[in-house]
């Protein structure tokens, strides 16, 4: 009766009860917005309890839906409270001497990420790109990053169409999907941390 699945389910349900109780008791809108994120965790947990490859494939859309709703809600919150960009948003960190970090660290991370490929590789390569940008100052080319993310997403989707309609070319599709997801996660990761700072047009 008490196998791993039911123990995990009991833990997830306990988390859910805690999260929903917190949401029901909270009265402040901003705190409710933050607690919503906590409520998302049990639903991802239930999906992850499947414990198969399918779980991995189902967690991703669940996560995307959750993040999309959270973004929409925070935008509504900003509108309804009439909050605007503050005039200054820089982090005031005093640096004794500005020196450029060696680009070799960033390039090592990127090369290692490419060798790993897939999600993990994208994360590591993205970390390298973030490190490069942080060391060299803020001069991201947003249009370029967006274009790279869009093209890589196109490769990814095209590979899935190959899986569906031309299954005999699966090896090509695997390679396309791996490269696509690598570029996409890299581009997304290098956007991390650019939200603070000057509002971009």
């Amino acid at each position: 009766m008490w196998n791993a699945y039911s123990i995990g389910m009991a833990a997830v349900l306990a988390t859910g009860v805690i999260a929903f109780a917190a949401l029901a008791l909270e009265r402040d809108d901003l705190h409710r917005l933050l607690l919503i994120d906590l409520v998302e965790i049990p639903s991802l947990g239930i999906i992850a309890l499947l414990g198969t490859d399918l779980a991995e494939a189902l967690v991703l859309p669940g996560l995307v839906v959750g993040i999309a709703e959270l973004l929409a809600l925070s935008h509504i919150y900003l509108l309804k409270e009439g909050l605007r960009d503050r005039p200054e948003g820089y982090l005031h960190i005093e640096v004794v001497e500005i020196g450029h970090a060696p680009a070799i660290i960033a390039s090592l991370l990127v090369v290692y990420g490419i060798i790993l490929s897939g999600f993990t590789g994208g994360g590591i390569a993205g970390l390298g790109v973030v490190f490069f940008f942080m060391a060299k100052g803020h001069r991201e080319d947003f249009a370029l990053l967006e274009a790279a993310a869009g093209i890589s997403w196109g490769i990814w989707v095209a590979s899935f169409f190959v899986f569906m309609f031309l299954p005999e070319y699966w090896y090509l599709a695997v390679m396309g999907a791996a490269v696509g997801i690598l570029l996409k996660v890299t581009a997304k990761m290098s956007l991390v941390g650019t939200m603070w700072g000057k509002p971009h047009e």
């Binding site: 699945y5 859910g16 929903f20 949401l23 809108d29 409710r32 917005l33 919503i36 409520v39 998302e40 049990p42 639903s43 991802l44 239930i46 999906i47 309890l49 499947l50 399918l54 779980a55 189902l58 859309p61 669940g62 839906v65 959750g66 999309a68 709703e69 959270l70 929409a72 809600l73 935008h75 509504i76 919150y77 509108l79 309804k80 899986f163 569906m164």
Partner: protein, 218 residues
Amino acid sequence: MNSIGGPPLFFLEFGDIMIYFSPYTVALFLLALVFTVLAIVSRPENQVEILFGTDAYYGKEIDVPEMRFRRFMSIACGLACMGAMVTGDLFDFTLFVSLVGICNVGIVAAVKTKHVQNAAFQYGIVALTATVPLFGGAAIAAATTGTLSMIALGSGLAGPAPFITRAALVLGVMGEGMAPFYAAKAEMFRAPGAPYVIMCSFSSLLIFLRVVEVVLTI
């Protein structure tokens, strides 16, 4: 398969994801299609308020970008609705339903009035919490029976889905389909931009109709 909506007329396969058209789902799909086309071609209305007891009246100005955004949201809502009507995959159904929820939040929230924004925020919180039973129900069905296909679940090959799955699905659709309640609460029907609010109520009605069929089938 023991299909409550009549025998399936046509199957459309995407890998292992099956879309099926039974008389019931075809009817719902066509309704969603017609209303999406109406949302595309209909022109927004200007609102005129009359001051009670006098002859005075004033018209409310609505800017084009706001209308464009609401039209986009209602078209997206219609597309998500069409997907939810015909899909034969339990998880796809929950995804489409939560997409309908997001689009409804967008339709309500496009009105730049304080009390409408408040209602949209509350509805958004309800819609987001409703994704927990939705995804949870689908995942429990997959964990206990090993499949997400409504056809396999309905034919008795994988056995019927557990009761908790059906209860969770209905609960989740109730949460996502709350839009008319919040639209009425915000007096959206008196807010500017008449035709697009219809999509809120209509999509909620459709997902309720479809979840009944899903719950009786699986």
